[in-house]
């Protein structure tokens, strides 16, 4: 089986936010929830870089480790998913997540933030694949249809790569050796405890 990962080539990302829009549209993500976002570092200064970030589907995921009700599970493709029927919306995964990936449908007030929502790597959830029930809770299940996450598929500069970790890392390394520069993959050290330096 593949080991699915995301890799954002910050030297290619142009902060067009198409990945964000594609994600919102594909899964009909409500207002206030951002499964994917684009962050710009050193905005307007030399060394400015934009990075598209979502749940990185970590190795030894912190969210799964701290969940009081153990609602997370990892698929055969190493995608980290969670069961919203078990989630109690306590927010512990948000404290532990290094990427701010967990989102809550309601703001503030009283532990009533609702069930956690996050990037599913377009792999749905524990409901039967591509059913209405799955779509309402988790959004589309492209993985079950043999497709990759839409954010990466939509990316106009191919900055955002999704797929098997070794394949996307080798694509990135090839790019770096051809063009002669590359700052490494953001989040990889934190999520996968490895880098992709060429």
């Amino acid at each position: 089986m593949a080991r699915m990962k995301f890799l954002c080539d910050a030297d290619r990302c142009i902060e067009c936010n198409a990945c964000v829009t594609a994600c919102k549209n594909e899964h009909e993500v409500p207002w206030g929830i951002n499964r994917r976002r684009v962050v710009t570092l050193n905005d307007g200064k030399p060394g400015e870089r934009s990075i598209s970030m979502a749940c990185m589907h970590c190795t030894d995921a912190p969210c799964a480790a701290v969940c009081p009700v153990n609602c997370f599970y990892t698929t055969a493709d190493a995608i980290v998913l969670h069961d919203k029927d078990l989630c109690i919306g306590c927010g512990y995964c948000f404290y532990a997540c290094p990427f701010g990936a967990p989102q809550y449908p309601r703001v503030g007030n009283f532990g009533g933030r609702g069930k956690m929502d996050k990037c599913t790597y377009c792999a749905g959830g524990p409901q039967a694949d591509n059913t209405a029930a799955e779509y309402i809770q988790y959004g589309a299940n492209r993985i079950a249809e043999g497709k990759l996450p839409l954010c990466a598929e939509m990316c106009s500069t191919k900055a955002l790569l999704a797929g098997d970790g070794e394949i996307i890392a080798s694509i990135y390394r090839e790019r770096v050796s051809k063009r002669g520069y590359g700052g490494g993959a953001w989040g990889w050290r934190t999520a996968y405890r490895e880098g992709v330096q060429a």
């Binding site: 570092l41 905005d43 990075i51 109690i88 404290y95």
Partner: protein, 328 residues
Amino acid sequence: MRALLLAVALLCAAPALAQNTVPFTARDQTSAEELELQRTLQGGTIHGRISIPDDKAANLVQPEGRAWRDFHNRTLYTVGAVAVCGVLGLLWLFYMIKGRIRIAAGPAGRTMTRFNLLERANHWMVASSFIVLMLSGLNLTFGRWLILPTLGPETFTMLTMWGKVAHNFLSFPFALGLVLMFLLWVRDNIPNALDLEWLKAGGGFIGSRHPQAARFNAGQKGVFWITVLGGGAVATTGYVLVFPFFITDIAGQQWAHMIHGVLAMLMIAAILAHIYIGSVGMEGAIDAMSTGQVDYNWAREHHSLWVDEELAKARTAIDPGAKTAGAD
């Protein structure tokens, strides 16, 4: 004129020319891996700018979540297990050695008022909400390992969900009760020289001699301050968590949770001892909080100075012309 224009053009072009001499490949390269490693070691976040109107989302990487995870899964688990099991073990040992502490002179049959209705009602409001807060809190830390395998995921989620709701809402009677408790009892809980004597004598628990005490002895004063200060800190940090991002950012919430968790575990340990000595551990103690009427001999043994004080008060309060019962 032409020469001047040329000079101006050259001046303007100079920086551009200078930049072009730097090869494109040697441009500033921040290494993602290096920066992430640095931030992990130093703490702090990798923060940028984001176009959605939520500055929290501009945190690209916040590696301190790993430290919080270690706290939650190791430190809190260990502190809680040691504190709760340790105290239960010690209490069991104490009971085995000392047994139930009896009223040495036996019950007198006559009673005196120790706590009035307001004091008792407030105590039980704090106590009952504390029990639910304690159980639902312990469930968040240990339930996944101890209860989930027995109940199964669906039932356990329902239990934990209700536990969370109860935990959030019962914090209000708990916090309100703490304030009332402070106002009602702080007068009698100021530490003084008598407390040192009491502690030196082991509170009467270790030897057989009962040290003198006023309304509250050093042990009870300890429970009072643990409840008021510890409970106050636990309630404050709890409200920081119940209103996420109203008061502090993610790092502040991680700290709030850590303080909340550790103090709560220590409080649970202290309160378990309090529950023991107030019920099975000592004859006559439970009366103080159930009916509010304690046995005269119990009061004499444990709170001799308070009894003297109450008697003196009673003597001045009654009609000076009144006769003692049976004097006629």
